[in-house]
Symmetry: C2
Subunit: 279 residues, 2 copies
Amino acid sequence: VTRVAAYQLSPRIGDLQYNLQLSTAAIRTSVDAGARVVVLPELVSSGYVFASRAEAASVAIDSDHPLFECWAAEASRADAIVIGGFCELGGDGLLYNSAAICDSAGVVAVYRKSHLWDREKLVFEPGAEPPTVIDTPLGRIGVLICYDLEFPELTRLLALAGADLIAVPANWPLVPRPAGEHPPEVVAAMAAARANRMFVACCDRLGDERGVRWTGGTALISELGFVVAATAEPAMVIADLDLARAREKRLGPHNHALEDRRPDLYRNTLHARELAPRG
Amino acid sequence: VTRVAAYQLSPRIGDLQYNLQLSTAAIRTSVDAGARVVVLPELVSSGYVFASRAEAASVAIDSDHPLFECWAAEASRADAIVIGGFCELGGDGLLYNSAAICDSAGVVAVYRKSHLWDREKLVFEPGAEPPTVIDTPLGRIGVLICYDLEFPELTRLLALAGADLIAVPANWPLVPRPAGEHPPEVVAAMAAARANRMFVACCDRLGDERGVRWTGGTALISELGFVVAATAEPAMVIADLDLARAREKRLGPHNHALEDRRPDLYRNTLHARELAPRG
């Protein structure tokens, strides 16, 4: 089994140094608790509600930034993997809402959010590549960022690419929901976990920022689609997950979560509005 | 708004006449309560746990069977639409796990389940066509059957084809779940509703049959992905749903549930195991 942590944090908008210390301390606490995989929120390096593209640019960093050396140093204490969001300045001079996957040696891969939410479209470029699956000694880890998770095409893509665990740095704006229900984004994660028989670790934010209130939807979800651990507090969520169970896609003697798919029937899902309703 | 009912029933295995009366009475009760759309369980004409293909064949019917005249007669009292499952004898002599969509005039369309669960594979042929969307005066209704619902490709396909409501006749075998959680199949329906901003009406079974215990997961789900009405009893679930809300796919000024999709990134979802995990 692999101990997985997600640390629900509140970064400060535009305060790179504070956020470096906050996120590094969260990794330290998680590793001290035995975590081998640590997930942090979206844009944890920078905060989220930018007043302008210029403000975002002022705290944009690349994968050589010392922040990642700090993350890697904490990871190295337990050969851990860290997945966290950052405001990326691309080599092309454009800004991306990205997530870094770090191990003891530093940044292994960067995923750029491909489905941008709301005013992100005024600040960031959407990623041009599908999400990443990293083959680590702990298992295969896929990464999505926040709104990406609401596209079941992407969770399926990661399952087909062999992901055992999807790490989801998020900043989910709070929406109303009936009493007793999970946040709807967590419901999406539960459904994706079950449909694909893989684990999902969502790391969200708490509190508010410039009038946006966050959901606090951090949750670890089993390959059966159930919430194993969650919190509504500014706290670490941690659980031992048997990631190997994600390799078993058989559902009894006659079924298989992936092989039961019927790609012959799905082709039109690529083309919006191609099918006409039949009368 | 449209009043939608789903009637959680327990048909008797192999007893076509009893099931005809049971299902017709359920439609009558639903129409009397003002329902304009009535959803019944999977294989409500025949029961589910067949001992053999021969037993299933003994109660297989086609769309000219008097059962559907009875359904249509009840529907005609309120210009209602009925969606219910039946054991179909195809013109090719093969058996299908099908759903009929009936209006006042009779069967409008038949959908054959395309993803077969467990021992169904020993009895039925899988449907060769994608699911159906019917343009009715009440709205566009798509149909899936039970295990079909667990493939987000299909719910997306129906949304892209313009479905406002997906009717899901089901027979969900009970699986363990944590206290306070919806059945995982209902979670899948909730996620599909929200991802596609469309309504979902699931009609399940209760009780048990030849050792299989059913979930009783009948639920009506809003386009925001929340359960509007559900029951754990042998009962009708009924609610007024504003199906027109499913036509609004915009999510604020910058987003759209379907147009935010990135088909350029999804192509590999058609081909299992084509993507190699990256190291």
